[in-house]
Amino acid sequence: MTRTVTLQTIADEIGVSRATVSNAYNRPDQLSAGLRERILAAATRLGYPGPDPAARMLRTGRRGAIGLLFSEDLRTVFDDPDSALFIRGVTEAATDAGTVLTLIPVPVGVDPATSGVASSAVDGYLVFSVPDDHPALAMVLEQQVPIVLVDEPDLGRHHSFVGIDDRAGARAAAAHIVALGHSRIGAIVMRLGHRDQPGPVASREIGQSTIRIVRERWAGYTDELEAAEIATDTVPVWEAGANDPDRGRDAAFDLLTAHPEITALLCFSDQLAIGASQGAAALGRRVPEDVSIVGFDDIPRATTWDPPLTTVSQPLVDKGRVAAELLMEGTRTGRARRVDLPIGLVVRESTAPPTTPS
């Protein structure tokens, strides 16, 4: 008959306590390297496969995993540099902590009840850039586990939040454009909510977007434009429908065709700004001589793009790391905290004074 090997079997073999054997697996800093090697060697010799994760989960009440919830499909998330850099930071922190990361996409049209939100065994959630009215958010909140909201929504002091001062960043971008002498300015926004409806949008609609960063960035742009006595209800704004260069290109093409007088474009992201420069080129408009373009995020491609993009930088990898560390802290302490990461305007070569007088 085969004997079941347990922690106690190994403890008896070595002549130490069961707790010491347990520490060799779970808290290696609690015993000497030599003793740990003897324990692990005995375990191998006796055929012990290691602690049962299910048993450990039952004993500690912890799953050893965190969930990352987002409202795009998985391909989009990895194609989008902002998201990919954020996930890199999350992965670094989770790896360092020996925590499993579970990706939970709940794109528009997927019923959250049939998504990973209902079935994932996690100690807490990172909720990454989810519109205010996303149905998965309510499901996560009902589970009453720690959550960290990233970028949006901001649910106040009872839930941890990691983000940047989007409004200040946008204000800096608009101030730069105004200081260069531009007054005929347009804007390109990724989208205002769940809908994918490319085309012109009224400024009041942007203020009612269900996406917090869209509202905040628009508020920042308008702060500065109004200070420069530019009527923001006359600023043409185009909704791209999604945050990718192809949509940015199409939006810029349509916007600059409809409003050829525009000399500067405020783009809500670098992805849109990169596309916008292609859209301008398709119309024979040079960047920055004929039209200045400023982005937001400072993704790696902003530096290598021709011309390199003027943009608002934010530490995307750091944001992921900080969010994951904050969540793991929250699963231990239950405390909520808010972290605002730094931003800065990076002036490169996609902006210049207008060549035609305003």
């Binding site: 930071g89 750091d318 944001k319 802290e329 405390r335 905290r337």
Partner: protein, 110 residues
């Protein structure tokens, strides 16, 4: 550029403000230990308008500003730290967050 960490202490703001300076030194020591530095580091504080400024031998906390706002039932504790740029989230964030947690703990215990 600044990193800002905001946390909440369920106590009277004036009391928290009075106890703030005493909470900083042990919090800095804990942060130092957490990132593998000796815990006994020289800390110099200076009072500023709504809080205190921290000068520390621990680079990760040097130049921090700790401020308090709020009302008679809830104090909002804000720690602002100089941030060099991308890639700072490792030791600096770990130090800052540990510092914030210990300041909170000291204020709640005080």
């Amino acid at each position: 550029m600044l990193l800002s960490i905001t946390s909440y202490v369920g106590r009277d703001t004036e009391t928290v403000r009075d106890q703030l300076e005493a909470a900083v030194a042990p919090a800095a020591s804990t942060a130092a230990l957490r990132i593998g530095r000796p815990g006994d580091l020289k800390i110099v504080t200076a009072t500023v308008a709504d809080g205190i400024h921290v000068a520390s031998e621990l680079d990760e906390l040097d130049g921090a500003k700790v401020s308090v706002s709020g009302d008679d039932s809830l104090a909002e504790l804000r720690i602002e730290l100089p941030w060099g740029g991308p890639g700072e989230a490792g030791r600096r964030y770990l130090a800052a967050c540990t510092f914030a947690a210990r300041v909170e703990a000291e204020l709640l215990a005080g």
